[in-house]
């Protein structure tokens, strides 16, 4: 469990969490980036950029 930096709600985390992964806050819907896994640290995910994706 970690705290959403946007709304403060508890965010449930998977067991196979990876730094760099993006998760959604179930309460406010903001995209969060996993900065660290042990202990879990979340921050707002970067905005989508024009040259992203395959």
């Amino acid at each position: 469990m970690a705290e959403c930096v946007e709304c403060g709600a508890d965010v449930a985390l998977h067991d196979d969490l990876e730094a760099g992964e993006i998760i959604d806050c179930g309460t406010c819907g903001v995209e969060l980036e996993v900065i660290d896994v042990n202990p879990p640290v979340l921050d707002r995910a970067p905005e989508l950029e024009e040259d992203w994706g395959e």
């Binding site: 196979d16 990876e18 730094a19 760099g20 992964e21 993006i22 980036e33 996993v34 950029e49 024009e50 040259d51 992203w52 994706g53 395959e54």
Partner: protein
């Protein structure tokens, strides 16, 4: 083997790869490119001792530079910078395919709104306008009329980044509401799926439905030719069916394969790791 994964975002695809590599006992170093500085001659500390680097950068610009630095440091990288360079730009991609004799949609590139309009009118309506750099089906326009063309060209010229002033105009391929995505390793298909959609865009990122697809000999041969045309590697080859056979519209170099992995019986990440293991000298493979 010691393998480095270049990334700035870990998608489901990267998680699948990481799990497979770790399960096989390979030593994996995740390298967040946002945290690196690239010296001209000395590799960053994170690169030390790596047998192979896999580029999984989400951003095309990062992928292009990071692979070039890897090669300058003498660190083997997949995909190669050459492949990234060709695949990341739709104009270069189309030129490579056409140059290798791979059937690909008729395409014209223009640099001004006037010449782009000429290209559009030469195709007639509908035709397609795409950004040369971009993905997930973003900013793709199916143009149905001259007035729509005028509006889109004006918007791109006024609002767009300079890359949007390179107008990539393509014939509209009247495909049967589906296209084919093949993941291939140096031209050898791992698996393929069809992406169905009522919408003219059939990207998995746009919510298209997927099903496994059995490739025939013609498709396999085109996948090999298309892969060779862009320099080989771990690639996503996109084909469409036309009345006269297949046409290859694009080859992707940081291929996303999670949708394919769910649509087919083949274990795609396992096949990718099998192939990665062949990319380093046998004595270092764990």
């Amino acid at each position: 083997m010691k393998i480095g994964i270049l990334y700035s975002r870990i998608r489901r695809d990267e998680k699948l790869l990481l799990a497979e590599l770790r399960e096989r006992g390979h030593e994996v170093t995740k390298i967040d490119v946002r945290k690196q500085t690239f010296d001209l001659t000395e590799p960053p500390a994170a690169f030390e001792g790596l047998d192979l680097v896999v580029d999984r950068c989400l951003a095309t610009s990062r992928s292009l530079y990071a692979t070039q630095f890897c090669e300058a440091y003498g660190v083997p990288v997949v995909n190669s910078h050459e492949t990234a360079e060709v695949c990341s730009d739709k104009a270069k991609n189309s030129l490579a395919l056409a140059g290798a004799g791979v059937p690909t949609p008729e395409t014209k590139v223009a640099f001004t709104t006037d010449s782009a309009m000429e290209a559009i009118e030469s195709f007639g309506y509908p035709c397609v306008l795409k950004p040369v750099v971009g993905s997930w089906g973003r900013l793709m326009a199916k143009i149905d009329s001259r007035s729509a063309a005028e509006a889109i060209l004006e918007h791109k010229a006024t609002l767009g980044h300079y890359e949007h002033k390179v107008f990539y105009v393509q014939e509209f391929v009247d495909k049967p509401e589906r296209d084919i995505r093949v993941v291939a390793l140096d031209g050898k298909p791992v698996a393929a799926m069809v992406r169905h959609s009522d919408h003219w865009l059939t990207n998995a990122a746009k919510g298209a439905e997927t099903d496994e697809f059995e490739l025939d000999a013609e498709a396999k041969s085109l996948v090999k030719k298309a892969s060779d045309a862009v320099g080989g590697g771990l690639l996503g080859v996109d084909l469409m069916e036309t009345e006269s056979g297949y046409t290859v519209h694009e080859v992707n170099h940081t291929v996303e394969f999670k949708a394919l992995n769910e649509a087919v019986e083949t274990d795609v990440p396992a096949a990718v790791v099998d192939w990665l293991e062949t990319k380093v000298p046998a004595e270092v493979v764990a």
